[in-house]
Amino acid sequence: MKLNKRLPYVIIPVLFTSFLITAIGLYVLERRSVYALTMSSLEKEATELSGSLIAYTRFIDGTLTLLLQSDALRRYTDTADEYLKSLAFDAALDELVGSIEGLTTTHFSVMFMQMDKVDYYYQSGLDPFAEPSHIIKQWSLEHCRNRQPDGRQFFTDLERLTILRIIDRRTLKPANRFEAENVLAITVSVNPTDFIKRRDQLIEGERKISFSDKNNTSTLPQETLHSRRAIPGFGVLTVEVPKKSVERELRSVLIKLVVAFLMLTGISNVVLQLLLKRYVTGPIEHLEYQIRNIDIEKENALVLYESDDEIGSLSSSFIKLYDQINQSYQKTKDLAEKDTLTKLYNRRVFNLTLQGLINRAGRAKDQMVALLYIDIDNFKFVNDNYGHSIGDMVLQAFALRLHEVIRSSDFVFNQHSGMTPARLAGDEFSVIIYGYTKESVPRMVAKRMLDICKDGFVCDEGTFPITLSIGVAAYPEDGKTVDELVVKADSAMYQAKKSGKNTVSYYSAELLEQARYQQQLEVEIKRGDTTEFELYYMPIVDSSTQKVNGFEVLLRWFSKKLNCYVPPAEFVPMAESLGCYRPIDMWVINEAFSKVQELSERYGENVHVSINISAAEMGDAGFVEELPKLIDKHRIDPHRITIELTETFYQDYTEKSLAQLELIHQAGFRLAIDDFGSGFTSIIQLVDFPIDVVKIDRAFIVKSLANNKLNVLRSLVSFCHEQSLQVVAEGIETREDFEKMQQAGCDFVQGYYFCKPMPLDRLYEEYKG
């Protein structure tokens, strides 16, 4: 489980428990104090209310006392006229009402009654038509009838506090005899406005306020809290509050506590989590995130969490550790990926990179990838002549140059494009160009690379005569897979190598065609269908007599599959390299031998037949043993057979092959050096080899004639004659050439001037010798 997810499980139970205990404690305390508070406020309210009522009763008492002692009352009782009574009293009472201080009242009335008749009525306020209350009148009358001189009553329905005095109108003293005509009942009523207001306020606050005019102390039900106050002479005031309402208050307290508890728990949880996240798990998470996202392939530096706590030091320790690991990883990686000499990527990384880029380009569609194969020509020469250490230095220097070319590339590249160089083998390099959009880019890059070796490769170690052959193949036109591209770039590179030094060659359809042709050729050669072979015969003419001396047998192969004549220059080296020359050679020899008799009959007894034999045969003892058998079979004189050694023989002949040559010579065959004066032929061979004939190459002849150096040719011919070698001039096309050859002393000549090579049947028709 993640630390962050674990936090709530750790925090919440602790917070919950501690806040719960606190909340319960608070509730118990609150409950106790609510009860105590309610009781004390009940007491206070009862005191306040009763005090207010008592103040009003005192005011009424005072008013009554004042009235009873006033002249106004005296005059009142003396006057008969109602209006004058009013005049006498109203002003006095108005003044009295005006002087009330500290008490407010909405009703102040004074009523004089003589038994059931209202004698005088005064009421403060703004209603001129106010009438005395019927209830109070009745109450006053009852007192008169019951002979009660004093009365006090709180008319709760009327909201009036009333005090009654019954006096004798003659003495103004409390009545004692209650004679109807002399009794004056004076009532003063007041609305205890302050009390009422306060009472109504309290009633709104769920108080129940009752007033009982009897001093009954009947017990109130248990479920109320109450307080009582006596109002002397009036009754008892009770202020109650039902326990239910206290409980309701407590419930609201409980709800508040629960809400506060939940909120506190929630908020504390959130705050604690935030703090822990900010200061503890956050940094750890950050560190963890960084570690998780480390891509060792990318150079993204770890950001150190700077803090003097454990996480800070963990972070810095980790970064140290990471740096060490990274360093050793980078070293290992370099070893694994890079060539130790040039520090370029090795073939493995090259393959991976190419694969990756192909995949990417395949997704991006409009991006191209070009693969450049670079081969250093003549590098073997450097190694052979200057030693391997210099060779290595040259390779290093070349790698650096390659880097420079790539680095200095100003082709339009974006962040998704670039070039990756690699060293594939000894002197083989490769550069992958990717992400470019202009087709000309690989060409320009290749051009710059060729420039490295334009005038020889120059470096600190000196100038070296090396050149580059560059083959280019592009994705996706030339290939869709790594292997395809590699093969095609490689073949383009070979094409470049073939077409000359320091060139670039692009893989193309012709190249493809050629490769396919080559492939088919290979197949056909391997098949070895000799029926498609045919021998052409080219006459060799005696230069002095102009009579035919012999014929050179030339193999012609019309491949039905390829639908063309395959030139010997193509299929012979291939057959040699494929190792299937033997059947071909055997067929040629057999065929040629079989016609010797015929040719003799047509063109004279001494006609020779020259056969070109693969150089490879020379190294094979079996071939040499084979020849005498064929001679016997066709009953011909080996003397009449000349074996021409092809050019390839001279390239790497050995003691052994020379020994074979000797054996053939001893068997009676004549041996000839073909194409002398071109390629790898050397004058040494004229001395060394057990030969009888020298065939001078047409190129040599043409050059000699063109430069008018016939004497060179003459010297060569006479040199050969010195060695008892007959000389044949090849490629004679005009009469002039022929005459020159005569002059030069050549023994024999051959060429189109005399006759083209042709099959035997045609030869018989066209060439009469």
Binding site: R75, T79, D90, L126
Partner: protein
Amino acid sequence: MKNMITRVSVPLIAFLFLLAGQSAAVELRIYTWEGYLSQEVIDNFTQKTGISITQVYFDSDQTRDEVIATTTGKSFDIILFNSISAQVFGKSNYLYAVNESIIPNLKNVNKRWAEGCGNFGIPYFYGTVGIVYDAAKVQSPPDSWQDLLRPAPAHQGHVNMLGDMTDVLVPPLIYLGYNINTEEETQLKDAYNILQRQLPYVAGYNYVLTDVDMPGKEHDIHMALAYSGDQYVLNDLTGSENWQYVIPKEGTVIWLDCMSITAESAKRDEAVLFLNYLLDQQVAASNTEAIYASSPVDGIERYLPEDVTQDTELFLPDSLLDSTQTYRIISDDNLRLRKRMLDILKKRHEAQ
């Protein structure tokens, strides 16, 4: 009815006092309105009899009634009442009852007024109740009680009423078409409601003369409920001719003032002498000319110049007198109720 035309120089008053003190040393104390008794009449009386006259003034009927109803009222010999108060106090034995045998000149009183004061005094002046208005401030002269009771907004706070419990009810009762002496409580309630609605327009319930005369008075009175003749005093006081008196088209009431002798007066004979003197035709004429109020005494015309006798505001035509209501004695309860109505109107006015 109260005129200040008489201006007596200080040396003359001093002389008269001196004279009176020497000859008789008898002094009559009269409780009355200010300027409601001709100084010339007083002087002549003093000269003739050696009895000096001292006037104490009240400025509202209610004040007077309260004063008389308490002990302090006993120090007066003669009191000016309206006809109703005279009878109220008379009934309660505050006043000395008179008749022709005691005051022979009562024979001069016109029959119409003879019973006006009952037998508790002599008829003194009578008049009407109407509206006085400042013509400079009231563009269209009022012609209905409605103009006073529901004035135009421009007059808000500039309308003055009267502090008399009966007179103040005249406009609403007459406007409503009720009898001014009505005993119907519902009719009184209607009248009271009209007055209560009028409250926002009312500047005060003091007598307009007292109000205008008060120094530094802020009230700018445009119109007022007043008594006939008040327009002259107002013009005198304000030094203008703008004040006009009008009796609204709904009609009005005729009031009558009475001079009464207190029951407890120690100078009853001298008081009788003075009241008899006042009813002398020549004296009444002189008093009328000075005060410029209508006298109930018959045959005074011959002592007055023609322009005065031709003034129908002073000598009201019989047709008007016949058709106009007069105050009658009303029940105690009714009186008390009217008094409470006025008291509460004043309280409400103070509170607004």
